[in-house]
Assembly symmetry: D3
Homo-oligomer: 248 residues x 6
């Protein structure tokens, strides 16, 4: 059930039996010479829809632009500042919590979102308590990173070993190929690829990772792999969601 | 050309011949008993894609959640505060302008976004000048409200007369029916419907507009109408975009 | 009754029979070679005082500096950022609402204030509800633009036709001449005047409107016209105020 | 020369021989049973105009609402938060400094503004340096509190001794009587009056100072005293302004 | 009793008989050729501990970095912006007030903190009332500047006369020598020293005060003087604290 | 070399051969019935001083209050909001970077700081580039969590096994016992202790962890263990610092 394809009376009825909500969060950032700029949002959204179908949970709109400041030396990258992302999450959850939602399950497609999202959760909890929207501290948030699912990680290792890398990875590229088979891109990829450098300033990032990849070989990706990853992530995160909302 | 389905080298090449970008902005808010909560985002996104195809412009990711504070007394509504939306737009445009984009054409699906977006544009211009990203004041933004296209407005009047109303209108509902024919909702609609009240607080809004409609009869909508509106809007906004980017 | 010329016990007594307040908002910005920099504040303040006298409403202090970022390439212009103006309005209304005021009628002299003020109203409503100052959503705001009064507009068309323009207009200049007959300025005005360009960056604004006028011929203004505009606006806005506060 | 009654070309010419600007700042707050709510703004504005006439300096628009949070338990009081006032000053000075002003002389009528204004000055200096508007650190601000002028203080002591008090003082009330002789208010004043309590929360302030006065007897004020105070302050602050702008 | 060396059950027991808390605030800024960069924090912390011992009050952690923007043209200086310091104080006091503390006694070692701290107190009071943490306005803050203690000031005049100056003073340097006798620094000090210039921009500050001293001769300091100052300040501020918390 | 015990000319000389700086960051939060509220700051500060001695690096002032919102249901806990911490770090680093520092090595004593600090680093990098303080992206930050040092972790496992837990751990308590042997606290500890619950709201945290411990048995701590942990951490982080500053 997608929030965008529901009416408010349908949401009202949903809230009678569940207060859980799934929110996909991705990013709009360079993913190397062949990866789609929307990769992280595409993956998060596709998997979130799958989890929503499997669990009957409402899936909210995708946060398409996340925290990707370190990629901004590449054209096409968009980013929020962490403090803006915190405000955005505060605004999102304030009204949803007022309406009765209490369990927010974020499905995340981008490593750079992890820190600001965790920071946001802490800030939101106190905010909702201070405004008396959640005086007893019942609202909880969970950040589920699909690319860190145990099953996904294991399969990526089997398929790609150390060519999986950590950005513009074959696993995420594969998933986008599965979702958008008409948008599979090819380009010559240098055999050497930057890896292991700490992520700091945008300029430094581009010096260390001149084509945008971080230790990865996305040429190994196939749509079939993508389907596998999709299924594994949906499976694992559906269980995760069920567990999350069953806690009181 | 969708930014999400492009690679950064493709964007780099695009920037060699154009510095224009289309960004859809919608809302996630109640649209009456039968209108989809995502109506404004769905319409803006569909039309933006159409304009992108027709003009060759890149279309960025949809801003799904806009300024809908007045709808927050209905469950399922999400909203940014105006000041958060201003920060979001500032962050979006800062990095895009650094990359070389100078013409931002927002296709908007929600009246409540107009004021904060115009406020944001003013603030962004000064911000970019102060940071020396746009020292000569070349960056310009345009907010194109599809529902205010002359052709759309005229056709809606012909089809619905004063039953068009101003929220959860048959024209926007029709467009969502065209885009998502499997998500057409029905529900009994009271013949009387609130209209003409000024929009103030969320509580007052719900008192005046108890089922969420503002003077509209969305039961008149059909997917065929939606297709018409889609085509009219794409036509008119494609011309608008061309005119916008040809100004220097 | 001017708030500045009242005592707090007088305000306390006023609140026993009315919770309405008039607040003038103007701008401090270039108005062409002959228009006063304070034009928008002068007009708003004069008319607000007139409306206050006619209706018995309290008139608060004038917001002298508004949102005029697009005029900042001309010396003497001052401006708030939209997000600062939102905070200012939030602060203003929070304490007035705590004291019991619920109907805020802003008399506005500047087009550039419209978007940020509407944005501010939305943000204020939610803020007051969240702080439990206005839990039932009774506080309402109205922005009354004197230059958009029907009677004013009509008379300006009769007197000036298309030489009215849209900034440094003869009608607003006339009104300042009526209020400050000792400060009537003259200067040679080029017969050609920029018009029709969208308002974007400060630099672009000055390129398009080199002497600050937007399509107007302020040389047509006379103090007598000003008096007429003053009377028309006071008349029309007094009715508007009465209607506004009589709504519940 | 008042900024509000000038044109931009006049400001441009002024800047050729002086970069100084006078800005009055007051407050909108209770001043006891007989003091005007606008007292602090009225005094600051009147004196600033006098100093402007005497020195030929431009006088900008009055900041009518200052930092009066501690008075907000009395109806009619308005206030900015200190952090909002800082933002306002930042916005004010940024554009004026871009236009070429470098010496900002604030004439202040309210003790509660002193701390936030000093805080604002520090923040503005760094802001202007960071934006490269004032890379060499040439912009300076001065806060001149008229009620702390030596000559004013001495005369108030002679006239009122310890009945001067520290809020709703006879000296400031006298000055408003001189400026607005038609708005002289009378009311019974209890012989005992709170004094000597530290200023903390709004509620505590009202408990300690139930009618709003702080140790003062404003019944001693006369318009003639007000004229004297006006002249003394204008004299002393005109010298202060000359000295301020002659520093390099 | 130091908060840092206590457990939460100890704090819980303390709150049963006292709701007072001492918080030292200093700065990290240049103090001339021989003064320690931590001078203001060192003095505030040492005296606060002394006051805590004498009065049995809990002493919280030292705010090491304060408002020192005007010193930032000297390497090693750190500073918060005033608006950041306001937020920090708001955060500090919000949670302490929720836990039951109501009397916050700040022992301050730096003149530059005075304005932003006073601004912060006003903002905090309203904030705590709005969040319903302190609905009756019982929370109060006091800023005690050790260097302005009458006894300290008098002794400094006796010892140093006009060589005390106003920054990098022998009195504060002496106190750090008493606390850190192993960190006594020597360097040639020019006999002439800047004095009397208003404090404005960082660049201007350094032009006027090239070695960082403001009219002072820190070579007069001795650890024995420091001990005296320490004892005088602890004595006087302990009385001040007792008086502060005994007010209701 | 401690920044607080240095003079600005000493810092100037230091910058001629190194641009590295160590900044300890801790927290002020409950650490169970026997753990000191200052535990995280005490550990970070002690280790940072040790690393400074070993490497010759300057050590800046300790950030005593970090992000501990989840502990605020226990008295004595203090916390910044994540967004305030981001602003604080921005202010800290802006002026240090202007002075020439480029390598910021934070030694962290608290898990709750990790997310907001990483968020802060991203935001700072872009901020410094935008202000042209670090146009080439040379400034880098590193967050070194002493409790995650491999050697520390290994030793804690050997000594305490699964009684190490994750908050109020015997290892951190031991380290404070080593630093403050006179402040060793004892209290009866229930044999059962909460563990494994996700960290969400303050209220929920206290429900799950009623005495503040998370799965730990701090009764196992000894000062001797503390000394070991201290030495291991200093050793490992000194190497880490050297490696960090030798990168270009």
């Amino acid at each position: 059930m997608l929030l965008h394809l529901s009416t408010w009376p349908e949401v009202e009825r949903y809230l009678e039996h569940s207060t859980g909500l799934i929110l996909p969060i991705g990013s709009t950032e360079q993913h190397g010479p062949t990866g789609l700029i929307g990769t992280d949002a595409i993956c998060a959204e596709a998997i979130a829809k799958g989890v929503g179908e499997k669990t009957g949970a409402i899936v909210g709109p995708t946060i398409n632009v996340g925290m990707a400041l370190h990629h901004t030396a590449f054209p096409g990258t968009m980013s929020l500042q962490p403090s803006t992302l915190i405000l955005l999450i505060k605004d999102y959850l304030t009204h949803l919590a007022q309406a009765g939602f209490t369990k927010f399950f974020f499905i995340n497609g981008h490593g750079g979102n992890i820190s600001p999202m965790k920071a946001a959760f802490s800030e939101v909890y106190t905010h909702l308590a201070h405004l008396n929207i959640d005086p007893e501290g019942k609202v909880t948030c969970h950040l589920a990173n699909w690319f860190m699912c145990r099953s996904v990680y294991k399969r990526a290792q089997e398929l790609y070993g150390d060519q999986e890398g950590s950005h513009a990875t074959p696993s995420e590229v594969a998933l986008t190929q599965y979702v958008y088979p008409d948008s599979i891109k090819t380009a010559p990829l240098s055999p050497e690829v930057g890896k292991g450098h700490p992520i700091t300033t945008p300029a430094e990032f581009r010096r260390h990772y001149p084509d945008g990849r971080m230790g990865s070989n996305p040429a190994l990706a196939t749509p079939e792999h993508g389907q596998e990853f999709y299924q594994l992530a949906v499976e694992e995160l559906s269980e995760g969601y069920q567990k999350f909302i069953s806690k009181n």
